[in-house]
């Protein structure tokens, strides 16, 4: 790859990065920047873990109501 091509690639990358302003959420920016990478790449890992924990939590909170909810959802398509 010659210098001209490298320069062009760098320009494209710089344009891509600068096209979107960085995300800021006030005092939560640091927390946001820490959490977001878990959902940017292979989010199914984080999603599976979170969803499993949440469903167990829901079961302990609502008990058999979760089973009724599933029956309702299964009729929902």
């Amino acid at each position: 790859m010659n210098t001209k091509q490298t320069y062009q690639l760098l320009l494209t990358k710089m344009y891509e990065v600068s096209e979107l302003p960085p995300q800021k959420v006030g005092p939560f920016t640091h927390l946001y920047k820490t959490l977001v990478p878990y959902f940017k790449f292979s989010p199914w890992r984080s999603a599976t873990l979170l969803a499993s924990l949440a469903s167990i939590f829901l079961y302990f909170l609502f008990g058999s109501a979760v089973v009724k909810l599933v029956s309702l959802l299964q009729f929902g398509f």
Binding site: P43, V67, V70, L73, F77
Partner: protein, 209 residues
């Protein structure tokens, strides 16, 4: 192979790659999909998958004994799905203009079309499990275990949908989190209203969006 065939195959490969990308690296995939050079023809496969699902759902719900009811069911699903799809895209485009979004309408359509993949996955899996393990669930240990797995699956797919929705607004309209929040606040009542209408007319019990 004819030119049309080659183009269709190329678009299919593109669609397949982007679908896998939506699963493994949605951020990179959506950033690439938001570029102006992306071919919009690939979304035809998403629409075909949706039509395929509606056919399957009509068959599961009404069976093949009565072709008239089957046709009516299929048509209502198509109309309900189209109203939801077009309605949300229109609303997003309008809100994009109002809030100073920078993206193109074409890109918004492509990005929103890919958010239908989690919807399709959930509806298809639910329909198949409706046939394999028909509801209602019981309070037996197996019933509870199934319920926990099903709820986990549903929440994971919902989270995937939220990620793709966020990325649609982030890359499609170049919005920051504040404006994404404003759009969501406007969109939620619209979705609730759509869901009630669909439920009342017996088209979708869970909104197909």
């Amino acid at each position: 192979m004819s030119k049309i065939g080659i183009r269709a195959l190329r678009l299919f490969i593109l669609f397949g790659r982007n679908t896998i990308g939506c699963i493994n690296s949605p951020y990179t995939t959506y950033r690439a999909l938001a570029k102006d050079t992306v071919s919009s023809g690939q979304i035809i496969y998403i629409l075909l998958a949706v039509i395929g699902y509606f056919t399957f759902a009509s068959l599961v719900r009404t069976g093949i004994r009565n072709p008239y009811l089957l046709t009516v069911k299929f048509n209502t699903l198509v109309i309900g799905g189209t109203v939801g799809f077009v309605g949300i895209i229109t609303l997003l485009a309008l809100l994009g203009k109002l809030l100073g979004g920078k993206g193109q309408f074409r890109n918004l359509v492509i990005l929103w079309s890919y958010t239908l993949i989690p919807t399709l996955v959930w509806f298809f899996v639910t329909s198949v499990f409706y046939l394999v393990l028909p509801p209602p669930r019981t309070l037996s240990p197996w019933g509870k275990l199934y319920s926990l797995i099903y709820i986990s699956f549903s929440m994971a797919v919902l989270l995937w949908k939220f990620i793709l929705y966020y990325l649609t607004l982030r890359f499609g309209l170049k919005f920051d989190l504040g404006r994404i929040g404003i759009v969501t606040v406007v969109l939620v009542p619209a979705v609730v209203f759509y869901s009630i209408i669909m439920y009342r007319y017996g088209i979708f019990r869970i909104p197909f969006i």
